[in-house]
């Protein structure tokens, strides 16, 4: 990312990328750790009385 002055090629071997790669490989399998936890996606209102 720009703030770090690195492009994506430069971060390809970073520990975080390697960890995320492993997590994606394990997605959906028993015991896998999701990259994003169970989420509350949209925070909205619909013509509420309050």
């Amino acid at each position: 990312m720009g703030k770090d002055g690195k492009n994506l090629q430069a971060v390809a071997q970073d520990e975080e990328v390697l960890r995320i790669t492993a997590e994606i490989e394990q997605a959906g399998k028993p015991g896998a750790t999701p990259l994003w936890s169970e989420e509350f996606s949209a925070s909205g209102e619909k013509n509420q009385t309050m």
Partner: protein, 487 residues
């Protein structure tokens, strides 16, 4: 005694989330890392056979881009949305992980028969991001196979929209131009000097995107930026359209000015965090006002012709955006507790039962909104009806906050992080109550509801329509929703 500013950093774990100017940056850094990982897994596992090849070629070009150029595009809400859906669909291909509702809608919309087809269609959309990076960097990119896009169309991070009926085929970019096929012929979209006037491009028209500016904040108001599959607010945004935005740009700028005046710390963060606002008509779409965790830096808000009320809504949606970013740093509720999905709790702001995570969002948001109205009240707004509405908010909202926090206290299974945040919010609420008590706010006032035209009407009882006081409105809502306090 806690004033508006002094209650914004209550002690406790994650208390700094209200003030941290880099809170959203972590989401973008993570999403960039996930992009690298996605490309690596696609190259290694080849879930689409050779169907990933064009994506991988484009990815290599994006990965080699100047970091500042890449960051400019990748920190756009639409890039983050693409990444999240791509991650979901790849997970569905590899391990059968169920996609999110948004990813499932995107897959259904493109007519995909299975996860592989959905992933293939989604990877096709990466062309748009690769074009955006190329254009932002001033470089040339010629797609191996063109991108078929719907009108209205824009590139991520661009400040123009191409409008008209039907579709457009995008074939590449050059210095300051996008090459498209319209009506059978290739044309270059003339992006230079667009601010001067719209340009006809065949039967389509190229417009500058409306941009609201105030005090260093810039909000692009381009519904076309959200013309993407699966987004449930898309049709409402597109129905409002560009002209609806352009006609209200001054209103938004006045709302930003109000935010700067009455919530200066919040405005300073808003200026950093928020890039896109789409105004919509109240009655259109599944939500009146909404933010999405998959679209950091964007919000969709029902237009209201009163800058102070619009500022309230912008502050509200901005706070959701910041809480989404905080949530990305780690779970606030125990995994599997159903806090995100189990909609069975009373909300003093909604007629339908809500999940606890939504209630936590509401508490964080309405604390910020109440502080805004306290500042309006203290300053003595120039207009009588605004002064009345500020007081009404200061009577009604703290009671709603007390109900919501009681429900969370009783039912939530927080993680250590979540408990720390909840304690910090509790401290904010106590400080707010103290500040309101010291601010000559009467114990009760006539309930008010803002109308779309900017006027304020009486809060009408759901039983017969008689006007209710602010306190009676809270009590009636609780009773009619069939809940006891703390349920």
């Amino acid at each position: 005694m806690g004033g508006a500013a002094s209650v914004s950093s209550a002690p406790g774990s994650d208390a700094a989330w209200r003030d941290d100017p880099e809170l959203l940056d972590a989401r973008h850094r993570k999403s960039a890392a996930v992009l690298v990982a996605l490309a690596r897994v696609l190259a290694a596992r080849r879930p689409l056979g050779e169907g990933e090849d064009e994506f991988l070629d484009l990815y290599r070009q994006v990965a080699a881009a100047d970091p500042a150029v890449f960051t400019r595009v990748w920190t756009e809400p639409r890039a983050y949305l693409w990444l999240r859906v791509a991650h979901q669909l790849l997970g569905a291909c590899l391990g059968g992980a169920p996609p999110s509702a948004l990813a499932a809608r995107a897959a259904a919309e493109c007519g995909a028969a299975d996860a592989r087809e959905a992933l293939a269609a989604h990877l096709e959309d990466f062309k748009e991001l690769a074009l955006a990076v190329a254009l932002a960097g001033g470089g040339r990119l010629r797609l191996a196979t063109p991108l078929a896009a719907r009108l209205p169309f824009t590139l991520t991070g661009a400040r123009w929209t191409l409008e008209g009926a039907g579709a457009v085929t995008v074939v590449g970019t050059g210095a300051g131009r996008v090459d498209v096929v319209l009506e059978g012929g290739e044309r270059a979209l003339p992006l230079d000097d667009l601010a001067a006037a719209p340009r006809a491009v065949g039967a389509a028209t190229l417009f500058p995107a409306p941009i609201a500016r105030h005090g260093g904040a810039e909000l692009v108001m381009a519904p076309a930026a959200f013309n993407v599959p699966g987004l449930d607010i898309r049709d409402a945004a597109l129905a409002a359209g560009r002209e609806f935005q352009a006609a209200r740009r001054g209103l938004v700028e006045a709302a930003l000015a109000a935010m700067e005046r009455y919530a200066p710390a919040g405005f300073a963060l808003f200026r950093t965090d928020m890039r896109h606002l789409v105004l919509k008509r109240r009655e259109e779409g599944p939500f009146t006002n909404v933010s999405y965790t998959e679209l950091p830096g964007a919000c969709f808000v029902a237009a209201v012709a009163r800058p102070l009320v619009l500022a309230d809504r912008l502050l509200h949606e901005h706070t959701h955006n910041r809480l989404f970013a905080l949530e990305e740093g780690g779970a606030l509720f125990e995994p599997g507790s159903g806090a995100a999905t189990d909609a069975r709790h009373y909300s003093p702001w909604r007629d339908d039962p809500r999940p606890l995570q939504g209630l936590l969002h509401a508490v964080a948001v309405y604390l910020a909104v109440a502080r805004f109205w306290l500042a309006v009240h203290r300053a003595g707004a120039a207009v009588l009806e605004e002064r009345r509405y500020a007081i009404e908010r200061l009577v009604r909202v703290p009671r709603q906050l007390a109900l919501a926090t009681a429900t969370l206290e009783r039912h939530a299974r927080f993680t250590a992080r979540g408990r720390g945040l909840f304690r910090a919010l509790g401290a904010e609420l106590r400080a707010l109550d103290d500040a309101i008590a010291a601010a000559d706010v009467p114990p009760d006032v006539a309930g008010l509801m803002p109308r779309d035209d900017g006027t304020f009407g009486p809060y009408a009882s759901a039983e017969g329509g008689r006007p209710l006081s602010a306190r009676a409105a809270v009590a009636e809502h609780l009773r009619l929703c069939g809940w006891d306090a703390g349920a």
